[in-house]
C-alpha cells in the first residue's frame, strides 16, 4: 500500500480551476518530485495534502486512512525558511515539540539530538539572522522533521539559495535521506534537482494543473558528484523538459 495517496483531487481558487483530477501515489520512504511551471498550483496541491485547504473533490489518504482537511499529520516546509528571528536556532527547531506540549527544556534536549545530523552543531545559540542561507534552510528542514518525521512536504526548499549552496544542500539531502527514513514530496521547477533527488517524478501542466507525465528515476540520489553521461539520463531529462514545454 502506498504511504500517501492523492485521489481525484480538484480545486477551484476564485474562478480559476487550479487542480484538475490529480492522482498521486507515494511509496513509503521514497521521495516523489512534483515538477511544473510556476503558478501551476503546486503549492495549492501541497496545501491540500497538508490539510490547510479543502479540495472541492477527491480525498487524501495516508496509510489508507482518509485525512482530507486534517492538519497536523504531515509536516510542511516552504521556500522561505520562516525561522523566528526572536528565537535562537535551537529554540526555533524545538518549536514543534513545544507546540506538542513538551517543556522547553525537554524540547531543547530532544531537538539537540538531531542538530548534528543536520550539520548545525555549534550554532545552537545563534539567531537566524546570524546564519547563512543554507544553514537557515537546513534548520527549517530540521524543524519540519521534528514535527512529523515520517512525511515531509517540501515546497521548493532550496529555491531561494544560490546555485552552489543549492547543489551542496542537495548532496547533503542525498546523504541523510535514507537515514531519516521519511517519505517526502518535493516540489520544484528545477529538472536536474528533481532527477537528482527523487525516486519518481510527476510533471504537472500549466493551469489547470493535470498530470502530464509520470516517470521513475532509476539513478536517483547518486552517491557521487559527477555529471551523468548515461544516455538514458539524457533521454529522461529531455522527455521531462518536453513535458514542461520548455
Amino acid at each position: 500500500m502506498s504511504h500517501i495517496a492523492v485521489q481525484g483531487v480538484c480545486k477551484t481558487l476564485g474562478n480559476l480551476l487550479t487542480l484538475k483530477e490529480i492522482n498521486l501515489e507515494v511509496a513509503r520512504k521514497s521521495m516523489v518530485g512534483i515538477l511544473g511551471p510556476s503558478g501551476c498550483g503546486k503549492s495549492t496541491l501541497l496545501n491540500i495534502i497538508s490539510g490547510l485547504l479543502l479540495p472541492d473533490q477527491g480525498v487524501i489518504r495516508i496509510d489508507g486512512k482518509d485525512v482530507t482537511g486534517q492538519t497536523g499529520r504531515v509536516s510542511y516546509m516552504q521556500q522561505k525558511d520562516l525561522l523566528l528571528p526572536s528565537l535562537t536556532l535551537l529554540d526555533n527547531v524545538a518549536i514543534p515539540l513545544v507546540l506538542k506540549g513538551k517543556s522547553r527544556f525537554q524540547a531543547r534536549s530532544e531537538a539537540a539530538g538531531s542538530i548534528e545530523k543536520f550539520g548545525l552543531a555549534g550554532f545552537e545559540t545563534y539567531y537566524p539572522r546570524q546564519l547563512s542561507g543554507g544553514m537557515r534552510q537546513r534548520a527549517a528542514m530540521l524543524r519540519t522533521y521534528l514535527f512529523s518525521s515520517d512525511i515531509l512536504l517540501l515546497d521548493e526548499p532550496f529555491a531561494s539559495l544560490d546555485a552552489l549552496t543549492r547543489r551542496r544542500m542537495q548532496s547533503w539531502l542525498i546523504e541523510v535521506f535514507d537515514d531519516l527514513g521519511a517519505t517526502a514530496i518535493f516540489v520544484t521547477h528545477d529538472v536536474d534537482e528533481a532527477l537528482r533527488l527523487c525516486d519518481q517524478i510527476y510533471v504537472l501542466t500549466e493551469c489547470p494543473a493535470k498530470i502530464r507525465l509520470q516517470v521513475n528515476v532509476p539513478f536517483c540520489r547518486p552517491k557521487h558528484q559527477r555529471t551523468f553521461i548515461d544516455p538514458d539520463y539524457a533521454a529522461l531529462r529531455d522527455s521531462l523538459l518536453e513535458a514542461l514545454e520548455v
Partner: protein, 256 residues
C-alpha cells in the same frame, strides 16, 4: 578605525552646532541689550538653573511621578486593548476608527475637564499623560502585529499551534520592534503631557512652576525648567532604548 572616527564625528557635529547656537544667542542678547525679562542669555539661564536647582527638584519630582505613572498606564492599556483587538476582529473593526478619531481631539481642550472632575491632584495629570502616550504605543503595536508575515501564521496552523501559542511565539515577539518604536515616541510625549496637565491646574510640578515664573516675568526660570524637562525626557528615552536592547537583543539593529 574608520567607523570609530565616523562615530566621533556623529557626536561631535551636533554638539558643535549646539555650542554655536548658544554662542550666537549669548552675543546677540548682549549686543542688542535685550532685557532679562524678555530673553535671558544662556549664561543667565545656567546661573538660574544652579540657583533654583533644589526648588525645581521639588517640582520635578511631581512631574516625574506623573510621567512615569501615566506612561506605564498607557503601556498596560495598550497591551491589553491591542491584544483583544488582535484576537477578535470585530473589536478591532469597532475600535480602530475610534482610536484614530480620538487623536483629533486637542488634549488641551479636555485636560481642564479632568481638573474639574478629578481635582488638582496627580490623577488628572496621569490621565493626560496616559492619553497622550496611548496612541503611538497602541498604533505601533497593532501595525506590528498586522505586519507579521502570513506565512508564519500558516506554518503554525499547519503545526496545529493553539491561538495562544501562535500569539506568544509569533505575533507578539515579531511586533516588538515596532512596539519599541512607538514607546520611544511616547517616552518623549509623556513629560510633555504631564507639563500640559500641570499648566492647566496644579499645586506642584514643573508646569505649575513655569506658569508661576511666567506670571512674574522670570523668563530665566521658565528656560531653566525647560532645560530640566528636556533632560528628563532624554533620560526616559535612553531608558526605553536600554530596555529595548535587553528585551529584543535579536533585532536587526543589535546584530551585525
Amino acid at each position: 578605525m574608520k567607523k570609530k572616527l565616523r562615530n566621533t564625528a556623529n557626536h561631535l557635529f551636533p554638539l558643535l552646532a549646539v555650542a554655536l547656537i548658544l554662542l550666537v544667542w549669548e552675543e546677540l542678547v548682549k549686543f542688542c541689550n535685550v532685557p532679562e525679562w524678555i530673553l535671558p542669555g544662556p549664561l543667565q539661564i545656567w546661573h538660574t538653573l544652579v540657583e533654583t536647582w533644589s526648588l525645581m527638584l521639588v517640582h520635578a519630582r511631581a512631574t516625574v511621578i506623573e510621567s512615569l505613572l501615566g506612561f506605564s498606564l498607557a503601556i498596560i492599556m495598550a497591551l491589553i486593548i491591542t491584544f483583544v483587538m488582535n484576537e477578535i476582529s470585530l473589536v478591532r473593526k469597532a475600535l480602530y476608527p475610534i482610536i484614530i478619531t480620538s487623536q483629533t481631539i486637542p488634549i488641551v481642550s479636555v485636560a481642564p475637564l479632568f481638573v474639574i472632575w478629578f481635582g488638582y491632584d496627580l490623577l488628572p495629570k496621569i490621565i493626560v499623560v496616559a492619553l497622550v502616550c496611548f496612541f503611538p504605543i497602541a498604533i505601533s503595536l497593532l501595525n506590528g502585529m498586522a505586519a507579521v508575515d502570513r506565512d508564519y501564521l500558516q506554518l503554525f496552523k499547519s503545526m496545529q499551534s493553539s491561538r495562544w501559542n501562535t500569539f506568544r511565539l509569533v505575533t507578539f515577539p515579531l511586533a516588538m520592534p515596532s512596539f519599541f518604536a512607538g514607546l520611544k515616541i511616547s517616552a518623549a510625549y509623556s513629560v510633555m503631557g504631564a507639563v500640559i496637565g500641570e499648566w492647566l491646574g496644579a499645586k506642584e510640578g514643573l508646569g505649575y512652576y513655569m506658569t508661576l515664573a511666567q506670571h512674574s516675568f522670570n523668563v530665566d526660570r521658565v528656560f531653566a525648567a525647560i532645560v530640566l524637562i528636556t533632560i528628563f525626557s532624554m533620560l526616559l528615552f535612553v531608558l526605553v532604548s536600554i530596555t529595548e536592547k535587553l528585551v529584543i537583543p535579536w533585532n536587526d539593529k543589535f546584530i551585525n
